[in-house]
């Protein structure tokens, strides 16, 4: 009897948390998509580790004005950059971008996620074209979900 109640309670909690997790994933996916569609239109993708999370807030405000992004678009991109900012630390800006597992040299057109935050990405990913692959989004989301 007790086990059954535990199971019901667990399912209830899972149901409560599921929409939150789905919404978070959707937000993350939206951030990846918007980042890949917008940030390479004029220039190369910049590594998230180049700036602290707080600096990205100012940079995205600047880019919003320069590239005429909507506020929601800028916020999604900012959230994605901050979530992948492995160079961020409480001590301030990490002057050296974190090393990446990607064996390829820094090539913006091939692996922008490499620049976004030293996220190891398989060779041949080209989200700048505006068509991120599902597995690309999945990996980026998993990466961003890491503590």
């Amino acid at each position: 009897m007790r086990k059954r109640w535990n199971l019901i309670a667990g399912m209830g909690v899972a149901l409560l948390l599921l929409p939150t997790a789905t919404a978070a994933q959707q937000m993350g996916a939206e951030g990846v998509r918007l980042w890949s569609q917008n940030c390479g239109r004029c220039h190369n993708f910049r590594p998230a580790a180049e700036r602290t999370d707080r600096e990205w807030v100012t940079i995205m405000a600047h880019m919003r004005a320069r590239a005429n992004l909507t506020r929601s678009t800028a916020e999604e991109i900012l959230a994605f950059l901050q979530s992948t900012n492995v160079g961020e630390s409480t001590a301030g800006r990490d002057p050296v971008p974190a090393p990446v597992a990607d064996a390829e040299p820094r090539v913006d057109g091939e692996s922008p996620a490499h620049d976004a935050g030293a996220v190891p990405m398989p060779h041949g990913v080209s989200p700048p074209n505006g068509f991120p692959q599902p597995w690309y989004i999945s990996i980026a989301l998993l990466r961003s979900a890491e503590p």
Binding site: R33, S36, Q37, N38, G40, R41, C42, H43, N44, F45, R46, P47, R54, E55, V57, T58, I59, A61, H62, R64, A65, R66, A67, N68, L69, T70, R71, S72, T73, P105, R106, V107, D108, G109, E110, D115, S126, P127, P128, N129, G130, F131
Partner: protein, 392 residues
């Protein structure tokens, strides 16, 4: 009694136990804001070596320029931004205020801007001219360039002016969106002789005057047809020389990161009597597929001027096409620029200029290219240019 456990005491202890965590969480969500928390220095710079071969002469020079961008983000709705430019010229340091603007970002789809800002006329002038973004060391012939012995004409400078601008972005679906900018500014004025006597900016593309369309705006380039078309100066002063304002707009359609096209134009009166018109129109487009990028702009300028108590109009079209492709960390680039003849009532007031440029970039980092370029003016000089640019 004192050692006895009660529900109230348990609740109190629980709350007290949670307090440090709640406080820490609150502190994480809203970090203490210092006066300079939203202040940031960004920008770009370049060092450029030019060697110019023209008929029997050869000259070379080394240029350096730094353009710091000062950003101050005040809350979530206000952003102050300023770009300065420092460069060495003729033994002295030249400072230019590229833009100084305040942006209101409180709306979701609208951005309001006031101050001195880059005009959305085409795309290169507003977004692509910084040396770490421009894929070749110098701008196309559409836009002004050329200090240090590289004196050439262009259609317009990198346009910035003082006024107000409203921008609206409308996402249509996951891929398509519309981009509209509308602005009113002081508008151009007739350039002083020393503003447009042949130099059109530097390798970063900064300049604020157009020597005009300029057949013979000054004595720098005598014109066989004796047309005296004044040069135009944009944003060189905070005071206005007349009562009229410049009105301009740009409408763009964007498809994800793969395609975008913009149609832009402006109208202004540039003389003190509010009589002489200048009208500009620009069509620009970019297409990107994988590592390949193709972009181009076409523009035309109509400028009315006074000549012997008459008011003819000078008409100058120009365009450029540029293709590039990433190959590893290298990026070959080719660009064709054509500043077409300036015509006044069917007569040629200024000869055309055609330029072919080849470049090979090596990207040390996403914002640090080393560019080697070879430019051929089909009717003039050849240049070999090496530039190291840095976006920070």
């Amino acid at each position: 009694m004192s050692g006895r456990y009660t529900p109230f005491r348990g609740l109190l202890l629980s709350v007290m136990g949670l307090l440090p965590f709640v406080t820490a969480a609150a502190a994480q969500e809203e970090p203490a804001r210092t006066p300079l928390a939203g202040f940031l220095v960004s920008g770009y710079g370049s060092a450029t070596y030019n060697s110019i071969i023209e008929e029997d002469s050869f000259q070379s020079n080394l240029q350096a320029a730094v353009s710091p961008i000062l950003l101050y983000n005040m809350g979530s709705a206000l952003l102050f931004e300023t770009e300065l430019e420092f460069e060495l010229e003729d033994g002295s340091t030249k400072t230019t205020l590229e833009y100084a603007q305040i942006n209101y970002l409180g709306f979701d789809r609208i951005v309001l801007t006031a101050g001195k800002f880059l005009l959305p006329f085409g795309v290169f002038s507003e977004r692509l001219h910084p040396s770490w973004i421009n894929k070749l060391p110098r701008p196309p012939l559409l836009y002004g360039h050329g200090h240090g012995g590289v004196a050439e004409g262009a259609l317009t400078p990198i346009l910035s002016d003082v006024g107000l601008m409203g921008r609206y972005s409308l996402p249509l679906d996951d891929l398509w969106s519309l981009d509209l900018s509308v602005y009113v500014t002081q508008g151009p004025r007739e350039a002083e002789h020393d503003e447009g006597d042949g130099e059109e900016g530097d390798g970063d593309g900064h300049a604020h005057s157009v020597r005009g369309l300029s057949a013979s705006a000054s004595a720098a380039q005598p014109d066989e047809h004796d047309f005296e078309i004044p040069g135009l100066a944009f944003g060189t002063n905070f005071s206005d020389n007349n009562d009229s304002k410049m009105l301009g707009a740009r409408l763009g359609v964007i498809r994800g990161g793969g395609f975008e096209a913009y149609l832009s134009g402006f109208h202004a009166m540039y003389d003190a009597d509010d009589y002489l018109d200048v009208v500009g129109a620009n069509l620009s487009a970019e297409w990107r597929r994988g590592k390949f990028e193709l972009r181009g702009e076409g523009a035309i300028l109509w400028q009315e001027f006074e000549q012997d108590a008459e008011f003819p109009t000078a008409r100058t079209p120009a365009y450029y096409l540029q293709a590039s492709r990433r190959v590893g960390d290298f990026e070959p680039v080719v660009r064709w620029s054509h500043l077409m003849e300036t015509k006044v009532e069917g007569e040629v007031a200024r000869d055309e200029r055609r330029q072919l440029a080849f470049g090979l970039n090596y990207w040390l980092r996403p914002s640090v290219p080393v560019k080697l370029a070879f430019e051929v003016d089909l009717d003039g000089a050849e240049r070999l240019i090496l530039q190291w640019a840095y976006g920070f």
